[in-house]
């Protein structure tokens, strides 16, 4: 059994909403007065659950409440949750940039937090000077930086510019240099926020690769990301935060599934509730209903192997929307897209104009899915610039069974490799 390196107990963080002004000073005075009288802070008793979609009545909100979990040495812990679920607040508290309001946590070992690359870079200083400064801010000693300076330089690939002020750098060079410093930290616990995943593909790969090598060397990593694939690939354990509460801890797979399952509350006939929360979209049109049906228009969430199915969408346009395209993604249960479909004819993508009102869109596919769980993501966008009108991620789930539609064509094996079975022609010849 590996050793516990982080122990979090009943952690809570309360924030005050609104601006700092006269009310804050009266609250401060009240708090001070209670303290003199030896009572508890009166504002800790109030405060609402952190749900940003509803306007609350209280000025205080709990960004995190009652969070308890342990991390063992060598764990790579993925923290998932929607925007505003408290992920970054948790990382901020664990990296000691802000203190908790309630509860406590204990850490064993040196912690380095990468909530941003290039923290403390001074534009007027040269690359070389900034490497030392940034390294020292991240907790390295001068000797350690000196030892790994050549490696850092090599990794960053900006050797030619190392004695030029960083304000003359391109943003790419800046990020590369900054990340090179961070990559050569040698902490026992590394805390990484998703901001790292902004750069280009190569940069992201580098970040992930670095984190992988950190965890392989037996160190502990805490990782926040919306990129579920990265979470799944890297992390051994996960915790799922929702509205500031800890919903679930467990293996990464469980957590990611739970995260994707949650909150997609369709009515049983596939109707999307009116108050369904949309992350983005222009609001000119809304999907109202989504169902998968068999050929007799029975809506189903479970299909037999080989059974043909249709997708039926109801789209309500609040005004005329011209030149738009609906796209459909079928993803695995973990959210990896495997099928992308838009209206097309003769290899040419088509756009469509919807008049104001309700429209029904039926889509027939010609492919065979292997037995597994799947999800559907639907979106409607403008054809030319891709601006999203409405978009619902992983909105519909369905399952393909091993048992076949035609009784004698069941899927015969235990293991399932892949998701799609193409039509294929095989020929055999002895040579």
């Amino acid at each position: 059994m590996s050793q516990k390196v982080i122990q979090v107990t009943d952690l809570g963080k309360q924030y005050r909403l609104g601006q700092v002004g006269t009310t804050t000073i009266s609250d401060d005075l009240k708090r001070f007065w209670y303290k003199i009288k030896g009572k508890d802070d009166p504002f800790l008793k109030i405060g609402e659950e952190n749900d940003r979609t509803k306007k609350g009545s209280s000025d205080y909100v709990w960004a995190l409440k009652d969070i308890s979990f342990d991390v063992n040495q060598g764990d790579v812990l993925g923290i998932v949750g929607k925007n505003g679920a408290g992920k970054s607040t948790l990382l901020k508290i664990l990296s000691r940039t802000t203190a908790p309001t309630l509860g406590e946590y204990k850490i064993k070992g040196r912690v380095a937090s990468l909530l941003e690359v290039g923290t403390g870079f001074h534009p007027d200083l040269t690359g070389r000077e900034n490497v030392f400064l940034n390294g020292a801010i991240l907790g390295m000693t001068k000797a350690e930086i000196k030892d790994s300076f050549d490696e850092i330089l090599d990794f960053s690939g900006v050797e030619k510019y190392i004695d030029t002020p960083v304000k003359r750098y391109s943003s790419g060079m800046y990020v590369r240099l900054a990340f090179a410093v961070a990559a050569h930290l040698k902490p026992e616990i590394l805390i990484v926020d998703e901001v790292l995943s902004v750069g280009d593909q190569e940069f992201q790969e580098k970040c992930l690769g670095k984190m992988r090598s950190v965890s392989e060397s037996g160190r502990t990593v805490l990782f926040v990301s919306h990129n579920l694939l990265a979470v799944k690939q890297l992390c051994t354990k996960g915790i799922y935060l929702k509205n500031g509460k800890l919903l679930k801890t467990g293996t990464t797979r469980d957590i990611v599934e739970e995260y994707l399952n949650d909150d997609k509350q369709l009515k049983s006939d596939g109707t999307i509730p009116d108050d369904f929360y949309r992350e983005f979209g222009t609001g000119e049109a809304f999907f109202r209903k989504i169902v998968l049906t068999d050929m007799n228009d029975n809506s189903l969430t479970r299909f037999a192997f080989n059974q043909p199915f249709k997708l039926k969408l109801y789209l309500e346009a609040l005004k005329q929307i011209k030149d738009v395209t609906i796209n459909i993604n079928i993803t695995t249960s973990l959210g990896e897209p495997i099928i992308f479909s838009v209206d097309s004819k003769d290899s040419k993508y088509l756009s469509h104009t919807f008049e104001e009102g309700m429209h029904e869109v039926d889509v027939m596919f010609n492919f065979k899915l292997l037995p597994n769980n799947y999800r559907v993501t639907i979106g409607v966008h403008y054809f030319k610039d891709g601006i999203t009108i409405d978009w619902l991620e992983n909105i519909y789930q369905f399952k393909i069974d091993k048992v076949s539609y035609n009784t004698n064509e069941d899927y015969p094996w235990d293991t399932i490799h892949g998701y799609i079975e193409p039509e294929s022609i095989w020929s055999y010849k002895r040579i």
Binding site: K106, H122, L125
Partner: protein, 287 residues
């Protein structure tokens, strides 16, 4: 995996909402001494990047201000300089005053100007004000060399300068008093300004006012003994007068005032540490 198996000693960091207010974690600051050194280097080198004269500006500034003061306060207004040659009088005042006021202004910005760094990485927050004071000291050291040149000129040229050699050993004490006093005031201001920015405006007035109460532009001997005693409650005023006395033999030098200055500074310092400890942990939420 039960908690009881691991005693508290095994943990390196334990964070709770509240901890001791007076705890000044100097060992942790010491662990970051390289960062302090680099910050000092950054403070000094980055200011003069992209200038032609570079660090020469450190000497040009006091020369110009001394000339201006000599014209306005001495030649035009005819204020006394206590028998010290006016140029030397103002240069002494200017050199030490700028050290104090620079340190104060910069430390008072600790939280606000470093918010972007503090919000992303943890290191002992005291590193920042400490590095400001140290870079102030380095700058003071360089400016003292200018002062030394002017001083030696007057020492050999006139008999108005009567150094009190026996007391020269006390000079570092006054530099420390001024440094600690500015650090304490700066920390207090920086702690208050994280939530209520009103204090930044207040500090602007306070520094200007304090300059006139610190005998930078006129000597203490202009005042009645009672008023002198009141004004000497300000550690900067008593340090300034003592420095002038040690260097030139003109000025108010009293053991009583010096002890008072030390006590005032110490009290303020402890007070500032309490406030700083309270602020540093969660200022990110209000800044």
């Amino acid at each position: 995996m039960s908690t009881k198996n691991q005693s508290n000693q095994e943990w390196d960091i334990i964070v709770k909402p509240k901890s001791s207010s007076l705890h000044l974690n100097l060992r942790e600051v010491w662990a970051y001494k390289d960062l302090i050194a680099l910050m000092v280097k950054r403070d000094i080198t980055s200011v003069y990047k992209q200038t032609l004269l570079g660090p020469l500006w450190m000497f040009i500034q006091p020369i110009f201000i001394t000339i201006i003061y000599t014209f306005t306060f001495s030649s035009s207004a005819g204020l006394s300089t206590d028998g010290i040659p006016p140029i030397l009088f103002y240069l002494i005042g200017q050199t030490f005053w700028v050290y104090f006021s620079d340190c104060l202004t910069k430390t008072s910005n600790t939280f606000i100007s470093n918010a972007s760094v503090f919000g992303k990485v943890y290191f002992p927050r005291l590193v920042m004000p400490f590095s400001v004071i140290i870079s102030g000291l380095v700058k003071l050291g360089l400016q003292i060399s200018l002062l030394a040149v002017v001083y030696l000129f007057y020492y050999f040229k006139t008999d108005q300068v009567q150094p009190q050699f026996a007391y020269f050993i006390l000079l570092p004490l006054f530099i420390i008093i001024m440094g600690v006093f500015s650090l304490s005031l700066g920390i207090i201001f920086s702690s208050f300004t994280t939530k209520y920015r009103d204090f930044t405006f207040l500090l602007g007035f306070a520094i200007q006012l304090l300059m006139f109460l610190s005998f930078v532009t006129f000597p203490a001997s202009m005042f009645s003994p009672l008023n002198q005693t009141i004004l000497m409650c300000n550690p900067i005023a008593s340090s300034m007068e003592a420095i002038k006395f040690i260097l030139t033999g003109h000025g108010v030098f009293s053991v009583y005032f010096i002890i008072m200055a030390i006590i005032t500074t110490m009290v303020l310092f402890f007070f500032s540490i309490i406030i700083f400890n309270k602020t540093e942990k969660s200022f990110m939420d209000t800044v």
